[in-house]
């Protein structure tokens, strides 16, 4: 027993005590990390235009995205199509031809709930924000209709985002609940979940019924405490000028003091007809080995005459559709100046594409009812489909990007007037 006490009880008690003191005691912290010795990170918005596949480069990307939302730059959110190298892609084309800051955000897997959570974390900056959401019909069919994958959710929504959502009392319950429910349903598959994820899970469970409320109460308290002290520890190393006390996303007032060159350049006139004409002909010239309008390389590498049947999923069981409607509600609630672009799928390649006509029309209607603009490029009828729209079976070619750019520029330059 003596050896047990000396080898186990004393070291563990000391470890717990030291951890507690380090994380929660101001005096202890000030002694260990004297105020004047702390290396504070002064970070300012850097990128006004460009592309972020995700937030992997760290806090700088979050500052730049918040800055774009707050100061009226265009934020184009989408999935795999945004990884395209074309010069016609909005975050390259719009800054170049309309001299307006535009940022692209996302890559494959960034679906409705992932976008919803990112925007909820940045909800302080959403009012009047210029957000373009590129909707892929593929999100709503087959496996993707089950909603955002856990891997993508965690990739796009770090601890800081979730902490911001948790602490932001202004976010209505309906949006928070959707996120909490997702975390709760998936926590069993998260290896070594952090305190904020566990807190969300425990809170969601405790709201189920009175019995669970009692059982989960200590866990909610403990995880709340753990996540709070973790972020308080973060605070010590950041500049409080633009980071509020516990919230670690940039302060709105600080961001508003940063200027953006945000007037559309009216001196440049874009000759859309010429761009459409040249890109249409170019697409024709590089899609020669098939009659489906697919670029030669892609066709010979992946398609080779094979077709795929669309795997439609009933709207009632379509989790992705449900997530999408909540995303619409969030943007509406925060009075964002958002627009949506529904991408096409190649109707020559996909069989039975008309089976998702109803769903896409419903999405289009929902967007319009929420008061947002929408460019619906989805066409299931081969006779009405313009072959140059896509470069492969689901990703825009230059012709398609120009159509999209025209829609975005016309919409936001009209707003400027």
């Amino acid at each position: 027993m003596k050896s047990f006490i000396s080898l186990h009880i004393i070291p563990i008690s000391l470890a717990i005590l030291l951890t507690f003191l380090t994380l929660s005691s101001g005096i202890f912290n000030n002694y260990l990390f004297p105020e004047n010795n702390r290396t504070k990170k002064y970070m300012y918005p850097q990128k006004q235009s460009g592309y972020f596949p995700n937030y992997d480069i760290g806090y700088q990307s979050e500052i730049d995205i918040c800055n774009a939302l707050n100061n009226g730059a265009i934020l184009v959110i989408g999935s795999s199509e945004l990884t395209n190298q074309s010069e016609a892609i909005p975050y390259k084309f719009i800054p170049k031809y309309a001299a307006y800051p535009t940022i692209g955000l996302g890559h494959a897997g960034n679906q409705s709930l992932s976008i919803l959570t990112q925007l909820a974390a940045m909800s302080n900056y959403l009012e009047n924000s210029k957000i373009v959401i590129i909707v892929s019909p593929g999100w709503f069919e087959d496996k993707s209709s089950k909603g955002t994958s856990l891997q993508s959710f965690l990739e796009y929504n770090n601890e800081r985002f979730l902490y911001n959502i948790w602490n932001n009392k202004k976010i209505p319950k309906q949006f928070k609940n959707q996120i909490l429910q997702y975390v709760s349903e998936n926590i069993a598959n998260i290896n070594c979940s952090n305190a904020i994820l566990r807190l969300m899970y425990c809170k969601y469970q405790s709201d189920r019924n009175i019995l669970k409320k009692v059982i989960y109460l200590p866990l909610v308290k403990i995880n709340k405490y753990l996540s709070n002290i973790k972020f308080q520890a973060y605070d010590m190393f950041y500049n409080k000028e633009y980071i509020s006390n516990k919230m670690t996303l940039p302060n709105k007032t600080f961001l508003s003091s940063q200027n953006l060159n945000q007037d559309f350049n009216k001196s440049i006139t874009i000759n859309w007809d010429s761009l459409f004409f040249s890109s249409f002909n170019e697409a024709k010239s590089i899609a020669t080995n098939n009659s489906w309008g697919i670029y030669d390389d892609y066709y010979s590498k992946y398609i080779k005459g094979n077709k795929e049947r669309i795997k439609s999923v009933d709207i009632r069981y379509n989790r992705e559709y449900k997530d999408f409607t909540i995303l619409l509600d969030l943007l509406k609630y925060y009075k964002s100046d958002a627009i949506f672009i529904i991408q096409p799928l190649n109707p020559y390649y996909y069989d039975e594409l008309d089976k998702i006509d109803k769903l896409i029309s419903q999405i289009n209607n929902d967007i319009k009812q929420a008061g947002f603009g929408c460019l619906n490029s989805f066409i299931s009828d081969t006779t009405k489909y313009k072959k140059a729209l896509l470069m492969d079976v689901m990703h825009m070619g230059d012709y398609g990007w120009y159509k999209m750019n025209k829609f975005i520029i016309e919409k936001y330059s009209k707003d400027e007037k």
Binding site: M1, H8, S145, K146, I187, A188, N191, C192, L219, V313
Partner: protein
């Protein structure tokens, strides 16, 4: 909240252990140890475990099948009953989808730990003598849903588990508590420190997609160490918490890096699975082959075929992917080669490979070969080999 997945689990386990010791002191007259164990397992299952009703349904389903085949139909041949008992696991592994996708069969029957519960279910059924008195349902449920082992074992045996349970509150004593604590700390050290260090500072630093021999070799060793620390850590924590709750959960890992041959490896690495496969698959299969007149003259073929099929089954149990199947086949091949070596050594009454080399040298050469062969097979299993995934 899955066992050992988060900090919260340890808090709940602590509360449960405290409650059990409290019961020993104050509630002994009102509630038995076995009832208490069942109650705490149900409490954990219903309030914290994902898909609790799937587990409870499987426990009831398996008991009914067991009762039907063993006590009513009294089938001597256990094959049909075993297949029916394994059916939920087989259906989950085959990932059947309904036409009204995205609903899948898995959404209704799958849950974390299904494989390990299935192993325990089958062991109860196979061990039962046809027509004998059926096991008590509550004891059966207690055995299947025991918290520390519910997710990934170690795979205990019904009678061994219940011999502990039958001892009652006397199992909750200082010795068991301290031994359990030691194992728990060892498990925490393995899982949360050693495995994390190997993962973050070794495995993640390697370009695992690279086809260069050096990178593949590096990944192979890194993953082998990672898997050992992760899995042995889990097992040690399960043993530790189990012991603190009064149950002696069987040892699952015992210095596998000192294995001298494939049989020795499976006595040291995931021992409870090795034992399960030996008792409930290899032995019946070998007996079946032995009864075949056509195979009577070929004892080595009988043994090797049974060994190979046993390890192939082990690969298939992980899933029907190529990497799992090849990994199982490799272990089967190692075992068959080693078995043939032993067979011919015995026949010729000398070591046919090492001749008169000193025993100590043979031992270390064997360890070197076995650890590398095991690491290679586990590397294939990991799905990280760029040629097989």
């Amino acid at each position: 909240m899955l066992p050992f997945s988060s900090f919260d689990f340890f808090i709940i386990s602590g509360i449960i252990i405290l409650y059990l010791y409290f019961s020993k002191l104050f509630l002994k007259k009102f509630i038995s140890y076995s009832t208490n164990l069942l109650l705490v397992s149900l409490f954990y299952l219903l309030f914290f475990y994902p898909e609790p009703w799937h587990i409870i349904s499987l426990v009831i389903y398996s008991y009914l099948i067991y009762y039907l085949f063993n006590s009513i139909l009294r089938f001597k041949n256990k094959l049909i009953g075993t297949i029916i008992l394994l059916l939920p696991m087989i259906l989950v592994k085959t990932d059947i989808r309904f036409h009204f996708y995205p609903f899948e069969l898995n959404s209704f029957i799958s849950f974390a730990g299904l494989s390990y519960i299935s192993f325990r279910i089958v062991s109860v059924y196979i061990e039962a003598v046809p027509g004998s008195k059926p096991v008590n349902f509550f004891k059966y449920a207690n055995f299947l849903i025991f918290i520390p082992t519910i997710l990934i074992g170690p795979i205990d045996r019904y009678h061994r588990f219940n011999s502990d349970v039958n001892e009652g509150y006397s199992r909750l004593n200082k010795k068991n508590f301290l031994d359990g604590w030691q194992m728990l700390i060892l498990g925490i050290l393995y899982k949360y420190i050693c495995a994390e260090v190997v993962d973050r500072y070794w495995l993640e630093m390697i370009e695992t997609e690279s086809t260069k021999l050096i990178d593949m070799g590096n990944t192979m060793y890194a993953y082998f160490f990672y898997l050992f620390f992760d899995f042995a850590g889990y097992s040690a924590m399960a043993i530790g918490i189990g012991k603190m709750m009064g149950i002696n959960v069987p040892i699952n890992f015992n210095k596998p890096f000192l294995s001298r041959n494939p049989q020795d490896f499976w006595r040291r690495f995931h021992k409870s699975l090795g034992d399960w496969l030996k008792d409930y698959f290899f032995m019946p299969l070998y007996m079946y082959f032995s009864r075949k007149k056509s195979l009577k003259k070929y004892p080595l073929l009988r043994q090797n075929t049974a060994l190979f099929l046993t390890f192939l089954l082990m690969g298939l149990w992980n899933g029907f992917q190529v990497n799992f199947i090849i990994s199982g086949m490799l272990f089967g091949l190692y075992s068959a080669v080693h078995n043939s070596y032993i067979y011919y050594c015995r026949k010729k009454r000398k070591d046919i490979v090492f001749n008169n080399l000193p025993e100590n040298v043979v031992k270390w050469i064997s360890i070197f070969i076995m650890v590398n062969l095991a690491a290679f097979s586990i590397y294939i299993f990991s799905g990280m080999c760029p040629f097989i995934s």
